[in-house]
Symmetry: none
Subunit: 401 residues, 2 copies
């Protein structure tokens, strides 16, 4: 029996509440100067206090040595094995902007980019143009029709856009046009099976038209597409866990991901403080909250060790207000590590802390990578976190007699 | 290859002896006053000495967050993955009273209960009536025949009984009549597939007759049935491990479970001291002993923290006598945790200690939940315990050349 089926069989509704705090890219590795990680340097008295009264460990998002993308990292946190439950990048982008995909729609993630006169990509993100600029460019290329297939383009955030192909007989088994490197031309989109041949020709035709339309634009003169995909059908969090779940996240992808497993996505602001306010205002209406804090990851990706430290401290400052709500179970973890020293996601396991009245506290009194090694949760799979949170919230029946 | 097949391939007979001590419900969580668990409060010098010279860890009976019932908890300890090897509750009860089920027999677990004049259940256990009272009631309803199907009822312990349906064309795919709550009527038994329709009608007819017969009884006026099932065919412990195995347990269910995997179940008394005597008397005749101590679990279920502490100390007192027998491998663990603070089974991993001449001792010198976190066994699945015991008894060939 797979894990999700087992939990679905055992889970039961109750009045208790779970708050899952995801500090994106939480884990780090030591800085060469201090020999300490971001979390070890950060002053986090409130996380430490939760750790001292809770149980800690390290979470393996996928499996040892495997660096997770944001989507699989989060799916694992929600208990969905990312090796089983797969979502195309295009679909995630569409969901993240509240774009309602119809059955049969094919979505692709796009980047506005800069190509030089030789057709080589010089900047895959067009200098990270603003959402406003991207919106204007999107309007120029939106609504193209090719052989009855309508191609819809929508801006996402910064240089990102989503492209939706709507028509009959489309198939998402397509390669990317985005080569994910500079100094090379964009790739021709290829059909990965024979049923996708038609869709590949539509997509290449579309890109040829975009190239002409954007030719003389300065902000960006081309788009790169990747992650052609269709909306998947996953078991909902309501069915699996019997939870009334809300997502508080200000970055589109995480909102889309939450929506695809049936969470209600709450309106919130761009700051952590606003996210906390959203939690406070909606606390009575749900029994599970996924609260996503993004800035730690962005700082890590930028290689900005100190900014990641400050982001961690900023999140720590919010915890007393969260504690006042009195959740039965608080889980604090990340979807993956993003060490500033690596300027990107990494394979390192992620600190996890669980606080509840019924946990079995360990000796860990400081929430850090090094301390979590000896935590009572041990080394767990990220997919084990939700069953543990459910158990601690007394929302699970026992297995067998 | 599944674990059991791998072990079956590698295991070999030898003169060495293994004693597996199962302290039912061993693990706990801290009491709110002392901040210590039952095992941390208990004075257990002999367990501590075994731990100091052995290797410790924490065992996950099913998987993280999942609270085991007694049967799956034990199957896992014997190396049988409880998600694969399933036994119906009715069968367990029948085996536990040494009732010989024939092929085709359908067994159900029963409770004597009290229903009020409106047909609502007011006490699912009839005030936990004595085994004597239950025996008398059983005789009143034993031997009913319906359309050639004989219905046999036998008392188990307290309010528990087992009902066996014996006849042609019976099928165990039936729902329970026991709603597992009070204030509601008993449920009609439903066929879960079309082949069970006939059996459902027999069972409902039987219950209607029981209702009439017990109508004016004071101790209990009805029975509730659940867990309709047929005896499963599992690989025997003799085949898997090449062991001549004996079970020493004084509670019916554990005896039945041991028998179903081919252990010989020894006659023993109701006290731990008598169980030890049984071990001593039979020590020469077997090379594997499963010794089951029940009282810790009962104390935990009753929420009696102190009684669980005393039960643990009582078991500890027996260890010097056990050591004198000189088993090659001693394993001490539990089938699950039963924290007094939760008054029931829980999901918390279970301390495990393995002592043998050939183990690799760790730094743990106190047998407790907190200390076991950093034990040399780490966090293992309960199904890994038997292979480890077998290895330490030098009863396993190497894998591959």
């Amino acid at each position: 029996m797979d894990n999700l089926k087992l939990i679905e069989k055992l889970s039961k509704p109750s009045a208790s509440k779970i708050v899952l705090i995801v500090i994106d890219g939480l884990g780090g590795i030591p800085h060469h100067y201090s020999n300490k990680t971001e979390l070890e340097i950060a002053r986090t008295p409130n996380l430490d206090s939760l750790a001292a009264n809770g149980i800690c460990g390290l979470s393996e998002p996928i499996r040892p040595g495997v660096t997770p993308g944001s989507a699989p990292g989060h799916l694992a946190l929600f208990g969905y094995d990312p090796l089983v439950f797969k979502i195309g990048r295009g679909v995630l982008e569409a969901l993240g902007i509240d774009y309602h995909l119809r059955p049969g729609d094919i979505a692709a993630r796009g980047n506005f980019c800069i190509m030089n006169q030789d057709g080589l990509i010089t900047d895959r993100r067009a200098g990270r143009i603003s959402t406003d600029e991207a919106s204007k460019l999107c309007q120029l290329i939106d609504g193209i029709e090719i052989d009855g297939v309508k191609v819809i383009t929508r801006p996402v955030k910064g240089h990102r856009l989503v492209t939706i192909f709507r028509g009959d007989d489309l198939n998402p088994e397509l390669s990317d046009s985005d080569p994910q490197e500079t100094g090379v031309p964009a790739r021709n989109i290829a059909a990965l099976n024979t049923e996708a041949t038609y869709t590949a020709s539509i997509a290449n035709n579309f890109l040829a038209q975009v190239k002409e339309i954007l030719y003389s634009e300065r902000a960006a003169n081309m788009i790169l597409l990747r992650g052609f995909s269709r909306k998947p059908q996953f078991p909902s969090i309501a069915d699996v866990y019997k939870l009334k779940a809300a997502a508080i996240a200000n970055y589109p992808m995480y909102r889309g991901l939450a929506r695809i497993i049936g969470m209600e996505v709450l309106e919130t602001g761009q700051t952590e403080q606003e996210e906390l306010l959203t939690l406070q205002h909606n606390y009575g209406k749900y029994d599970f909250f996924f609260v996503h804090f993004k800035k730690t990851d962005t700082a890590g990706e930028d290689g900005d060790f100190n900014r990641k430290v400050i982001s961690l401290e900023h999140i720590d400052d919010l915890l007393p207000e969260l504690n006042k709500l009195g959740p039965d179970v608080i889980v604090v973890t990340g979807d993956h590590s993003t060490p500033a020293m690596l300027k990107g996601h990494s394979w390192h396991p992620v600190p996890v802390l669980l606080h509840s009245r019924y946990c079995r506290p360990d000796k860990v009194s400081h929430f850090s990578e090094k301390d979590c090694i000896n935590g009572g949760l041990g080394r767990i799979l990220a997919t084990d976190i939700m069953p543990l949170a459910m158990a601690n919230a007394l929302k699970m029946d026992k297995f067998g007699a």
